[in-house]
Structure formats: C-alpha cells, structure tokens
C-alpha cells in the first residue's frame, strides 16, 4: 500500500459522496497537488523510511487555516475567494514537516460563525451548506463543520479545526468523532484567520482518540510569533505513550450538572447517566452533581469577542496579502454582494464588532478580566474542592434540522467552560439519541491534555460507541 493509493481512495470518495451523491459539501477546495505530494512521500519512505507516524497520511484543514499552496484561505467568505497567503500557518509547517499530505480545505460556518446571530452552522457563501452524514437534513454544528464531516464520512483520515467556543468539540460530537480543544497557546495561531486571540485555538479531529492524539503531537511546537505560547511550559510531546484501556482506574471524575440544556433532554441525561456508570465500572470514582456558576460569563465573553474580532481581523488583513484590509471593507463587500453572501442571514455581529473601539478601552479590559475569572475559577474550584482529575458533561444534544429561515437550534452544550478559561477539553463519542451521535466532554485544568487523552482513550475503549455513517 502507498500514500498515493490512500490519497486517491479518499479523493474518489470525495467525488462520490461529497461533490455528488448525498453531496455532503464538507470539502471547499481540493489540493491539486495532493497526488504528486503523496508520490514524493512514497519515494522518500522507500529511500529513507518514514518521518514519523503521520508520513503519507491525508489531512484536511479548515478553510481559515493559511496555506501557501494552490488552495486559497477564505474562512468560507467570497470576500477572500482568491486569498492565497504567502506563508503556511505555523501549524501547517509543522504538519508538512511531519510528512502529511494536505488533501483539501474544509467548509465551515462562514467567518467561524461570527457574522450573524441568525446564522446556520456549516453554511458559507463559498461552500454552501455542509450536511450531517448521519441524517442529511440535520445540521453538522460548527464552525469546524466540514472538518468533522470529512472525518466522520471517511473523506480523510484526520482533520484540523479551530475553536473559539465550541467550534471543535460541537461538530466533532454531533458527527460522532473525537475532537480535542487544547489549552490556549499549546498550538500556534499564526497564519490562521482570527476570531479572538484570548480564546482561539486549533485542534485535531479524528475517528479515534489515538489518531487525534497523534495529530495533536505533530501540531504543537513553540512559535515565537504567538504571544500565548510564551505563557506556557513546554508541553510538546508524545500524547500516545501511556494510552491504556485501564486508564480510568483510580481516576476521580466530576460530573457537571450545570451545563447548558441540563434536564431539558431526557434522552441526553439518560446517556450521561449511562456514561457515568461506565466510568465507575472502569474503576473511576465519579463525584456527581458538580455545579459551576457561570453567571455573567457569557455576556462578558461576547463583549470580548466583539472587541477582539475587530482588532484581530484588522491586524490579520493588514499584515497579509488579502485583497480587503479591514472589517469595514468586508462589511461593505458583503453589502455590495448581498445576493450571494447573505441569502439566508445578515452580518449583524460583524457590524456590532466594527462599532467597537481599541482594546485599550476599559469596557474590553473589564470584560476580559471578568470572563477569564469566572471561567477559570469555576473549573479550578471544582477540580480542587473534590481533588478531581477531570470534569465531564455532555458535549451536545441531537443534531437539529438545518433551517436557513430560523437559524440554529442548540439544545445542549458544555463548551464554554473550557473555551473561555483557555483550558483543554476532549470530546469522545458516548452513544446515540434517535440515531444521532452524542459526545462526552472531558475538561481539565490548563496543560492537562495528556491526562485527558488517557482518560478519554479508556472511556473510548470501554464504550466503543462510534458507528460509521452509512452510504
């Protein structure tokens, strides 16, 4: 078997079920050089052996991750249709060095879902609507919709998504795969179209915990151009060394019951209870009914995101070779091309962000301090008080019907604790409700990825909950 065969098989599948057939629309651009790259990596393997565990493995990237190749970097927006950065994002350089084949770019919720409060996840003006492979009228969540669907439907081996709040873990869970949202600063953000630097991170998405851990190991690396990295200890390493089915034995896990939608979906609650029983059966001690008070956090978080989106996007556009140089110009482009860009929802969030001042304003500084304090102290207190290794909560509810008139209908979620805190979380398939995948999130303190991955792996081995979508 060769990497070229592997790449060809995935391209064939993309043609059959993504561009045609059920038309999942998870892929926004194919890398025209993928087969050539794979062939060169095959020759290198023959001559000098593999570079590492990802040599010759196809990877799909979310379309807001910069690549200096023949694929544009668009965030799904027609405003950036021809944007080709001059340099790879730092994490892309790491992956190329590891020997991956960048197979394609994935569709996403346009601008990482920071355009309108009436948006529909998985829709972009370039890529159209990505579908949930388990039931095509259902939504794939977002904003890393295409990355998740491409992995779930075997259109790639692994993918990279990005998250500001839920954009890796929600689509991963709702499409029945594993997603890791790392500690803020573990993975470089350089070269990624930004949303908000105090919460943005890229994360691996895969069908198994081991594959996600392998990809995370290749993505990490110290980037001197990302200020968040200097605040962390060097945690680059091998995340697969201690994966064992006995990884839950003796662990102390806190079951959070204050997640969004708790008690509103009996089938999700029942699956959560079943997951707790599995953890206990595997030797973990589960402390149930952890309450985390997040009063005021979401309002503060939203204020932070509005401020940072304007500042960060303007800085990115100004420094890049993008054709438009500011959020104001993006908004004007959208207005001038409203038929193509805004057939389903507007750009009210972008307009609100553009009205904000500089990051020196006290309103921003206070909101940032408040959001971080509430989220971090909430997690830290729960972990410390009960001497816990991790917290758990359902990642999602069953996928809602895609509805371009009313927009998204989230029912269950738990992403904000880790997202706002800048702490790690990993979602692992836990089971199904009405044939739709539900994930279990494992959340920990900063820089505890390795422990969370070991716990998630043991849960995965005990449950084997993932089932492939059928085509």
């Amino acid at each position: 078997m060769t990497s070229e065969q592997l790449v060809a098989w995935h391209l064939d599948r993309i043609a059959a079920i993504d561009a045609a057939g059920p038309a999942l629309a998870s892929i926004i651009d194919i890398n025209p050089d993928a087969l050539v790259i794979a062939r060169a990596l095959d020759e290198e393997w023959q001559e000098s052996g593999p570079r590492g565990p990802l040599h010759g493995i196809p990877v799909v990237l979310k379309a807001n991750i910069g690549t200096a190749d023949r694929m544009p970097t668009t965030a799904g927006s027609l405003a950036l249709l021809h944007h080709r950065p001059e340099r790879d994002a730092f994490l892309v350089r790491r992956l190329r060095d590891a020997g991956v084949v960048i197979l394609a770019k994935a569709n996403l919720s346009e601008w990482a879902n920071f355009r309108s409060n009436q948006s529909t996840s998985g829709w972009s003006s370039i890529g159209g609507q990505t579908k949930n492979p388990y039931l095509e009228g259902r939504n794939p969540c977002g904003s890393s919709s295409g990355s998740a669907v491409a992995v779930a439907a075997n259109l790639t081996v692994v993918a990279v998504g990005t998250e500001t709040d839920g954009s890796v873990v929600c689509p991963s869970a709702i499409n029945g795969i594993v997603g890791i949202k790392p500690t803020l600063g573990l993975v470089s953000r350089s070269g990624i179209i930004p949303l908000a630097h105090s919460q943005d991170t890229a994360g691996p998405m895969a069908r198994t915990v081991r594959d996600a851990a392998i990809l995370l190991g290749a993505m990490t690396g110290v980037d001197p151009n990302d200020p968040a990295m200097s605040k962390l200890p060097v945690t680059v390493g091998n995340y697969t060394a201690n994966l064992t089915a006995a990884g839950l034995d003796g662990k102390r896990i806190g079951a959070v019951r204050s997640y969004y939608g708790a008690g509103q979906r009996p089938a999700v609650d029942a699956l959560f209870d079943q997951s707790i029983a599995t953890l206990r059966a595997q030797g973990a001690e589960v402390i149930d009914d952890i309450q985390i008070d997040t009063s005021g956090m979401h309002d503060a978080e939203y204020e932070v995101l509005l401020y940072e989106f304007k500042a960060d996007l303007n800085a990115y556009l100004e420094a890049s070779n993008a054709p438009l140089k500011s959020l104001t110009e993006i908004i004007e482009f959208n207005d001038a091309n409203a038929d193509a860009v805004m057939p389903h929802f507007g750009q009210d969030i972008m307009i609100a962000a553009d009205s904000k001042g500089p990051l020196s304003e006290p309103e921003y500084q206070e909101a940032l301090a408040d959001s971080k304090r509430i989220a971090q102290s909430g997690i830290d207190r729960a972990l410390d008080e009960h001497d816990l290794d991790a917290l758990i909560a359902p990642t999602n509810g069953p996928a809602w019907l895609t509805d371009h008139i009313n927009g998204d209908s989230f029912s269950v979620g738990s992403s904000s604790y880790a997202a706002v805190a800048g702490y790690p979380s990993i979602t692992v398939p836990a089971g199904f409700v009405s044939g739709l995948p539900i994930g279990l999130s494992f959340i920990g303190a900063a820089n505890t990825e390795k422990a969370l991955i070991e716990i998630g792996y043991a849960f995965e081995q005990a449950t084997r909950a993932r089932r492939s979508p059928e085509f």
Binding site: T2, H10, A15, A20, R210
Partner: protein
C-alpha cells in the same frame, strides 16, 4: 471502463453545478474547477486498478500496511 465512468456519479456533478443559481458566478466557477479536478483524479485512479478499502482504518494500521 468508459461506460462505467460515464455511469458514475462524478460525471453528474457538472450539470448540477451549471444549473446552480443562488451563489454567483465566482462560486460556481470555483465548484466547477473542483469537480474537474475530482474527475481528473478519478480517471487517474481508474487506471491504477482496484484500491483497498480504507474505511475507519487507524493511522497506525495504515502505516503497518505501508
């Protein structure tokens, strides 16, 4: 092989793209280019014989097969 290719779903992509009406010329041109690329890849792949099935195969197992 030709008849099999003509009956395949890839060929059907082109008319559906040409008839797309909501998204604007630039997006349709982009989708058209992607479909041509995929057709070219599929034609290349068809010359390479039967490929193994890689559904749900983990990275370590893929490397074991390489």
């Amino acid at each position: 092989m030709t008849s099999a290719l003509l009956a395949s779903p890839y060929i059907k992509v082109i008319p559906s793209i040409l008839s797309a009406s909501t998204a604007g010329y630039a997006r349709r041109a982009r989708q058209y280019r992607r479909s041509l690329l995929l057709i070219a890849f599929v034609l290349l792949g068809a010359c390479g014989g039967e490929a193994p099935d890689f559904t749900d195969v983990e990275i370590t197992e893929l490397h074991d097969r390489m």
